[in-house]
Symmetry: D2
């Protein structure tokens, strides 16, 4: 059933789905269970409590919905807004584009602020719009924390500051799909109203669980929101929360135990240590790209992403060929360039349960591929640059000191 | 992480999620993969082709959506209908009730035909409605093939015959959650327009995949359907089918490989043999219930379900106590009575990857529990009745002859 | 790779290898590790400490050898005895026979005390031999605690009493392969010098670990024992115990983690509760056999085994056909009759991680098979007899109360 | 239960146990089975036939013994030789030393030919001994194909040539523990009489199976061999081979299915491609060592090993500190220097299911560690040297072309 066996491990460096740690694979290696027995609610209770920590919220209400990031988006929007509502949304890459497409199809009045791909959200225009919106017609700001297509991280704290500055009551809805559990994210501090991620990203689980967290203000808004919704309706969950049985429909038993194991590993490492590790991996990758003489798709340092790096290839190379060759010759999985940057960039995902030597193996592979394709990269140059930084910064593994 | 360990296997006899066969657990015991590599589309292609066989359709188009049965319902409705559309829906138990609730919340004009719980769909009333509907205001008939709450199987062939008799063009939407892969189901022959099931039912996988199959007529309807939908929109799938990459958003790699293994097992056994096995298990269960002197919640033989049996307990017993005791003392998981039949029935699920000795172990447990609770059941009586039937009907295991 | 797939679970009722609990399968689902890293010794230390508890010894020294029960036998003999040493050994069935064969091939002077198969060790003859052996020429008594071929449990306490009565210094070597972790076994109290079991028996692990425990007297004897040995030499282990690295050669990482999980489950249930559970399963099985009108191969109640029951079939039936049919039609694995009782008995193993409903499922299968083969067994009779006893004795599962 | 969790994969580069491929882990993720059912012999038959291919023999008889390499050694010796027999054995490192120790304890008359550690077997002395041995007092030549402690591969073909040249009938016993399935090994062509390996080496399984292959001449010798043996006696296996039940005692079901999967992967890749891959990994490692300015413990190119490289550290560094630091900081497992070379060398195992990017990740880790410890290694230098070679030699993955 493995149609495409290659010797050794697959080096999985797409920005999701990411590597699942062995203890999590183990935890999910199990038969189904009756989700109405006392065991599953007892487990669920711990999950709902603990999952709030990865959002850095104490006041939020989490929902673990059997869906993907796309479904989580829909859940965030339909529970808080009504058709026709004006929302401001930033278009900076393929995933923000897809979210905007969803917003439009869900019949919201989407006010798009577009940036060049490779740039972050244009907050100056947001400021203008907020300033102009005395009537508070803007009901929500929708922003992707980390645009996975271009490797751009937006400044959420600055968005919050603008809202506060203009005393604007718009909801702040954040796609944290490729950020939460990897980048610094502070739901309560930044006044985020809905934040969401998917299990297959930095949590390092299989796909299948959309994880959404709603602020008290968002819950309040959900009472008025007129968008039609059933499967994604938070209210069905809230009813079962009250009953203590938690699930309006059947959850994946395996993902529940997997989430338990994933959270345990994150807390054992320490969430801030996890974030610091992503910081190291991101920086090391960027140093390698620089050493190769290539450009980062991300145009300014303030937007550099610690979970994904989009590398611009020279014009005489098709970046899709980098990805194909990685897979066909080196058992390495890289991310394609999407849409506007198709053929121009390939992406190195460096998020989730990953360590430095894995990354260095990947970088050495990228060097060989670039050389395969005629790019005058000096073998070892990127690895050396990354290693020089890492060798100074990698901490001892706490459990092994 | 197993909060409630008990020695030996858990005897899982809820009507879903059901026992996962070992080869399927094995197939899913794996790391994530890049779903944009050539491997996953190659696998997906075989799945889309083979999954049609469990619907007995050649003209249908399947969708494997990362959701549950509730989401599959929503997908069936929103892709084929527009708000305000009149649909006829049968209310015969908790799951048909939940579907009707969804239909109403999705803003359809639901014409409910209600039966007493324990009875099947009232087709006489349907006939009258069809006869009266010269203007074809009825856009769809929604029917649950097998009502999991009461163990009632509806006669889909008769529904088709009525539609044909009255030359009525209404779509036929079927919830096959607890029937497909277990009961005789013939999408093409019966002219079903949308059929759906969930991975955790007779397919014997974990929860997380809604499996929907649409007839050409349903696909045609989807072009006109005005219900708002994004995550559940078939069109997004169809676009990617054409591209040959298949997935508009990230699928669960584990469920894809699991589905491959599950289908392989079903085809190895033979789908008709699988259905015959469910026939044996259902009949054996009913014989046991009869031997115990208890009543089946299902009121007539024509509605008897081969996937779930709802057993009516004597009035002096709380059926929830049967379920609690099963779990607490015998490591046996039974289904609760729901809503109108709460406290009055408990349910034995006998679907999915299950064999006769497993069922007999369950039945012997039920006998002890009933005795525990003061019900004058003769120990061994139900097992004897079931075994007398099974001993005459169990075939040799083909691979072992 | 499953050449002989049958639907549903295999009902594994051979007296070894036995069912592995899911948490143990999970614990072993892992990659290899460097056994010279600090992690493996840390784990090993806990195992060596905790494994003593299943022998009920505080003074014994355990050895976890990558071998089977046959290898564990060889380890027990060659470390404590010298070629030519006189040993007294009881022949009561196939496994004691095989051990005696090994003893003879290892060049010991084996004084065999034979009983009819179905009887226990003849302790009267032992008493005579001990009484006569004023010169202490007998160096060891070798006894199988539970003869797996006939379902006979010997009285070890009585053996110890005889040795004490005659103040005889012979070593007491005990094969506890199908007893330890299932039957009452008290190494220290009974003055057992070497006790041994295999991982695939009541510990409910895969095959591959021979578990041996040596008393201080046995360790002392090992210094003088002249039997040639290398792989099985305890001394190589003791050297590495002192170094704190524990392993003279590579252990199975998977079995080490599996043993950790298996011990954890046993301690969670409570060793005495585990033994009581085996008592229930054994008694229930014997009641069923009686209800069927069949004979237990074990001739007297004092020898009844709570881990395996050898059932004598009527003369017109070939017991091997019972076993074949069980597997071919019912996905049930029973034990064959061996050697002298081949064709005459089949065996029901009821040891390891097993609960009551699993056993009742098995018993209902046996009833059908016997009927298949023309034996006038009343269906349900054995199950009823077993259930009548079990319904009065099964305790609540402690973690679920 | 993971006492020493570190984020990301463990980089396992000890020369055994090695990385288990995911499909093999999956194949072993299973419950026990009755090994006396028809299924296990059917599986075993294919294993015994196919395992001969990894020895490149058609005339040999394989034995799959539940033991480790140490037990496989004992099996090879005791089945072919009698106490007092003169054998010639080469001492070139820790593992040949341990084998010689075993030979002596098994009471053979061991004629040791010693080389400096880092050199191969001294065949000149062997030639002299053979020349002098007109009386054929030498009964066997024992040689380690690949000395795992020093990374030295002996020339077996040359040994065979000498035996032929002197028409000497001595048996040729070969420890292939770290060579078979990784280095070129030709049992029939080289007239090897007993060859052996362990499951946890290049076969990439867990520890627990000693795999021995005996030539017809070795089987003949076993009829006369007077060494005492029971557990390791080939004759017990041969009896059961004739019966078609194959197993004199319980095998590990999991390892049997694991071996099936491991062989399937090896044959899919192609045994000669597997060997070529090891050739690439070995060469790449040596190029890195050279680029670092360090010495290979192996003194001449003719002895270079493609499965393990022992790297000599500068005198001011303790090689054990390299290993400790690898594990504590980089989640990298390297091999210690043993005995005479303790503190002086560390070892990189590059055998089993491993690919080039994994190795490059390891090499980049070694560079950082060496720098950590004050060794003036240029970061990236070894990786660059290895990559320059690999980039020219890695083939496309056949299944992905």
């Amino acid at each position: 059933m493995d149609y495409v066996y290659g010797p050794g491990r697959n080096h999985l460096f797409v920005p999701g789905p990411v590597n699942i740690p062995e203890p999590v694979i183990r935890a999910m290696n199990r038969n189904n269970e009756d989700y109405r027995s006392p065991a599953v609610p007892a487990l669920t209770k711990t999950l709902l409590e603990d999952v709030k920590k990865i959002f850095k919220t104490t006041s939020g209400t989490p929902f673990l919905i059997p869906t993907t990031g796309t479904g989580a988006w829909e859940s965030a929007l339909t529970n808080t807004l009504s058709p026709g509502d004006r929302i401001v949304s930033f278009l900076i890459g393929q995933f923000s584009l897809l979210w905007i497409d969803q917003q439009q199809r869900l019949k919201f009045d989407v006010d798009v602020i577009e940036s060049e791909w490779g740039q972050g959200a244009n907050l100056d225009i947001l400021a203008m719009k907020l300033a102009a919106d005395r009537a508070h017609t803007i009901k929500a700001i929708c922003i992707v924390h980390n645009e996975t297509a271009t490797g751009v991280t937006n400044n959420l704290s600055a968005v919050r500051n603008l809202l506060d500055e203009y005393r604007h009551p718009a909801l702040l809805l954040v796609d944290g799909v490729s950020s939460i559990c990897a980048l610094d994210f502070r739901m309560d501090e930044w006044g985020v109203d809905v934040a969401l991620t998917g299990s297959q990203k930095a949590l390092s689980l299989p796909t299948g669980m959309g994880i959404i967290c709603a602020s008290p203000k968002a819950l309040e808004a959900s009472k008025m929101a007129k968008s039609v919704r059933v499967f994604f309706d938070w209210n069905d969950y809230l009813k079962f929360y009250k009953l203590g049985t938690y699930w309006p429909y059947t959850p994946s038993i395996q993902l529940l135990y997997g989430l338990r194991a994933a959270l345990d590993l994150i807390f054992e490492e320490g969430l801030d240590n996890v974030i610091a590790r992503h910081g190291r991996l991101g920086k090391a990758t960027r140093l390698a790209v620089e050493a190769w003489g290539l450009k980062n798709c991300t145009q300014k340092e303030e937007w550099f992403s610690d979970t994904v790096t989009a590398v611009v290839v020279p014009p005489y190379i098709d970046s899709a060929e980098v990805v194909r060759r990685a897979w066909k010759r080196y058992n390495l999985s890289l991310g394609l360039g999407l849409n506007k940057v198709a053929g121009k960039v390939f992406r190195i995902g460096h998020l989730g349960n990953l360590n430095e030597l894995q990354l260095l193996g990947c970088l050495s592979g990228v060097e060989m591929i670039l050389k395969d394709l005629g790019c005058p990269v000096k073998l070892g140059s990127g690895v050396a640059a990354a290693a020089a930084y890492l060798q100074n910064t990698i901490p001892m593994i706490p459990s092994r000191i």
